[in-house]
């Protein structure tokens, strides 16, 4: 039997100045199941709370109404008061007679008083239906998974590890480093990229709290914040990294040469390889699709037709530690994590859609990232910028901005943000390499919004003598050894044609291949371009709508290195804050399924935005819905959708709301 106590607050004169409190008390006493109705000058004050506590004990109350301010203001306060009186804190209901009554109806005290009474009546009708609720405590696996080993993922992993928590970093390539490892110098300070990145890579590989898994991919994710279960696929490296000492004999002697992905096809690597000299781990993998031994084995397996290919196995013969492991297979591991950080970065736009820029037909039209490789001292040309067609040194270079950016027609309306700056950087560097070089930059707007960026842009003009031409070129074509860039100088209003030796397309950023698939696996949102979607672009930039999963760096949108690092650290801080608790308290105001009523239509499963409802089979073989307490956010969408009313929301049950409505007509 419910025993309701009503506590009406004066809030000084805020309420009492408008609402006639004695009249309210008198009415409240007559409401069903109400055993006591008392008033308080300031309910939220310590004496106010004490009097509520005492009344609960004295009158043996088991339901409480506090008629005062908005629950958004003090619900927590009064829940605590209930708890301190030994009552389940969820047996409280607040009647909002301040924000939604006295403050808005001060013009008519009688009407305000009547309304206050009705508001309390509704609250009483609802509170009678309240049940004790218990938040659950779940343990946390204090280990984080970081997906993607670019600068963002590296920063995140290091920060989490330095906070004292374990980290697993999964990178799908044979080495960490990401795009930054491919860069030569970095704007706006012109630090050498490798000089600032490689120490971090080494720190990471040596950190006792970090487990590095390269050549690996995330396959499946289940569970929820604090308790994720992740299936990780280790691709077969065919090299036992425990034995390998990274001596390099194998990749120096391997006879099979293929275009290097890291050098964007500008250089070669061998079939057994590390992607670049400073790779971490500095141990090779065998690319089976190119290895000669594979070809040999296929020849054997397919009945030895045709000429016998060489068996090769040179790597195996020369390896001093017998590390080559032909029998190594790909392996699937399941690991537990408390949180996941996605830092899968970007790739550059494939400009073969720009036929007017020659698709990929001109050897001397290259991308910005390719130029980085050409300029890098450790790149395929040893840092010499030469034309791919004839090996000559270009003296005139045109840059074309916004290729695959700010272009609705190619489905990429967004600005890639870094290319204005990197073209300026590359023009400065080209001038430094060779003072005779003249650069032209075709741009639409120069976007230099960042610390020291504008100054950097001016440097390109002042020091490197770059000629900026405002206008997007329409065509690139060849005339003898020269490439002609056809544009408009929009400031002069005249078409321009510039014959140059080299054209650099500033291709934009787009999410790494497979980002959408990964997002679906993780149940986080992604936008039309496959960039990950943050929970709030301003206030929760590294969180997602799925608790416990964070996003950082260029996988969320075009970013430069400083922003990536800041985001990596931000995500790490979020992870550390979570891990500083021993358990997670789950909100009890969530959906529960009445198994007997559920007809297994699974409408709720499809409607839940948080994938918090799943289905299961009962012992008698019926398919029914089941909610996951840790995932449910208590929005109630599923409840309104359920026809047989088999699913309900604790704290806001159908019955409670219906009674609350009915309370108005009591």
């Amino acid at each position: 039997m419910a025993r309701v106590g009503v506590f009406v607050c004066h809030c000084g004169t805020n309420i009492a100045g408008v609402v006639n409190i004695p009249e309210v008390l008198e009415a409240a006493e007559k409401m069903p199941m109400v055993v006591s109705a008392t008033d308080n000058k300031y309910s939220c004050s310590e004496p106010g709370q004490a009097s509520i506590r005492e009344a609960i004990i004295e009158n043996n109350l088991n339901r409480v109404i506090v008629a005062a301010c908005s629950p958004r203001m003090h619900e927590i306060t009064f829940r605590r008061a209930l708890a301190s009186a030994g009552l389940n804190p969820y047996l409280l209901e607040m009647a909002n007679i301040r924000e939604q009554c006295s403050w808005v109806h001060s013009d008519n005290k009688e009407i305000a008083t009547n309304k206050a009474i009705e508001i309390i009546k509704m609250a009483v009708a609802k509170v009678i239906r309240h049940e004790p609720l218990y938040p659950r405590q779940v343990g946390i696996t204090k280990r984080a998974l970081v997906i993607g080993g670019g600068i963002t993922g590296i920063q995140t992993a290091l920060d989490i590890a330095n906070a004292g928590y374990g980290v697993v970093l999964v990178e799908r390539e044979p080495s960490i480093g990401g795009r930054m490892a491919q860069l030569d110098k970095t704007f706006p300070t012109l630090d050498c990229s490798a000089c600032i990145l490689t120490p971090k890579m080494v720190d990471l590989s040596q950190h006792p709290k970090i487990k590095l898994m390269t050549y690996a991919e995330v396959k499946k994710v289940t569970g929820f914040i604090g308790n994720f279960e992740v299936e990780i696929l280790h691709k077969a490296k065919k090299v036992d990294h425990l034995k390998c000492i990274g001596c390099g004999i194998c990749w120096q002697k391997c006879p099979e040469k293929v275009p290097s992905e890291f050098d964007l096809g500008l250089g070669k690597r061998t079939a057994i390889y590390i992607p670049f000299a400073q790779a971490v781990p500095p141990k090779p993998v065998i690319d089976l699709s190119h290895c000669r031994y594979t070809k040999y084995l296929t020849w054997v397996a397919t009945g030895q037709e045709g000429k016998k290919p060489p068996e090769c196995r040179i790597c195996e013969k020369l390896c001093p530690t017998a590390a080559i492991a032909w029998d190594q297979e790909e392996q699937l591991f399941t690991e537990k994590f408390g949180t996941i950080v996605v830092a899968t970065g970007y790739q550059t736009y494939d400009y073969s859609h720009y036929k007017e820029y020659g698709s990929r037909d001109f050897a001397d039209v290259i991308t910005g990232l390719q130029l980085e490789r050409l300029m890098s001292a450790s790149g395929p040309t040893g840092g010499e910028v030469t034309r791919l067609s004839d090996g000559s040194h270009p003296k005139t270079v045109a840059f074309v901005c916004c290729v695959g950016s700010r272009d609705q027609q190619r489905g990429r309306p967004y600005c890639s943000k870094v290319c204005c700056m990197y073209t300026a950087k590359q023009a400065i560097m080209l001038k430094e390499h060779d003072p005779e070089v003249q650069c032209y930059i075709f741009y639409i707007d120069v976007r230099a919004g960042g610390k020291d960026f504008e100054e950097f842009y001016l440097r390109a003009i002042d020091e490197a003598g770059v000629i900026y031409i405002k206008g997007r070129p329409s065509k690139i074509y060849q005339d003898g050894k020269k490439l002609i860039v056809l544009g408009e100088d929009t400031l002069m209003g005249r078409p321009v044609e510039i014959p140059v030796d080299l054209v650099v397309l500033a291709t934009g950023m787009e999410p790494s291949a497979g980002a959408d698939e990964l997002a679906r696996n993780l149940n986080i949102s992604y936008d039309t371009y496959n960039f990950m979607v943050e929970a709030h672009p301003k206030l929760r930039p590294v969180e997602t709508h799925t608790d416990g999963i964070f996003v950082a760096g260029a996988c969320v949108g075009p970013r430069d290195i400083p922003e990536c690092v800041a985001q990596g650290s931000a995500a790490a801080a979020k992870v550390a804050a979570l891990f500083s608790q021993d358990t997670l308290t789950t909100e009890p105001l969530i959906a529960v399924v009445n198994q007997a009523r559920c007809i297994g239509c699974l409408l709720c499963v499809t409607i839940c935005p948080f994938k918090a409802v799943d289905y299961q089979t009962t012992q008698d073989g019926r398919l029914i819905a089941a909610t996951n307490e840790s995932l449910c956010k208590g929005c109630g969408l599923c409840i309104a959708a359920c026809r047989p009313k088999a699913i309900d929301l604790r704290g806001f049950t159908n019955q409670q709301i219906l009674d609350e409505v009915a309370g108005l007509w009591l």
Partner: protein, 191 residues
Amino acid sequence: MPGVDVITPKPITELRSWVETLSGQKVARCYQCGKCTAGCPVAYVMDPTPRQVMRALQLGLEDELLRSSTMWICFYCMTCAARCPREIDITKVMEALRLVSAQRKATPAQKDFKLFHNLFISNLNRFGRIYELGLGLTYNLLGKHPLSKAELIPGMLARGKLSFIPHRVKNTDRIRDIFNRIKAFEKQGKP
């Protein structure tokens, strides 16, 4: 009083709304990147250029636009439209401007073009087909052009590529009916 050479933008003008209706294009979308002009094979003789046409429409500089010959020089090659990053069909804008311009008296810059196209249409109206030799000769005659513009005619005649007699369709009445019904429709605004 505003100076003569000072631009006073008039964002909403009759011309602009006409052009937007006729072309189905939104003038404001243009962000002045210049790719249209860059690719336009005749931009070098245009004043204003395609990009500047878009700008003039944005700013409401009607007179300047309607005085020019740009929309008559444009030969609808659609290069601009195929490449515009803001997906504006500039060719349609040019066509709309020409439709508006066709209704007005020719300015000096437009004289030759209007003469040619009017002759073309009247040729069509009379014969049902284009009488190339006649069209060429009348154009040069009426336009007071030196005969140099017709220097290929002897060669064409020699190769049997031109004839002194116009081809004409058998039923020229039907053509005239079409012209008349269009005129009637345009006057009353309905069939």
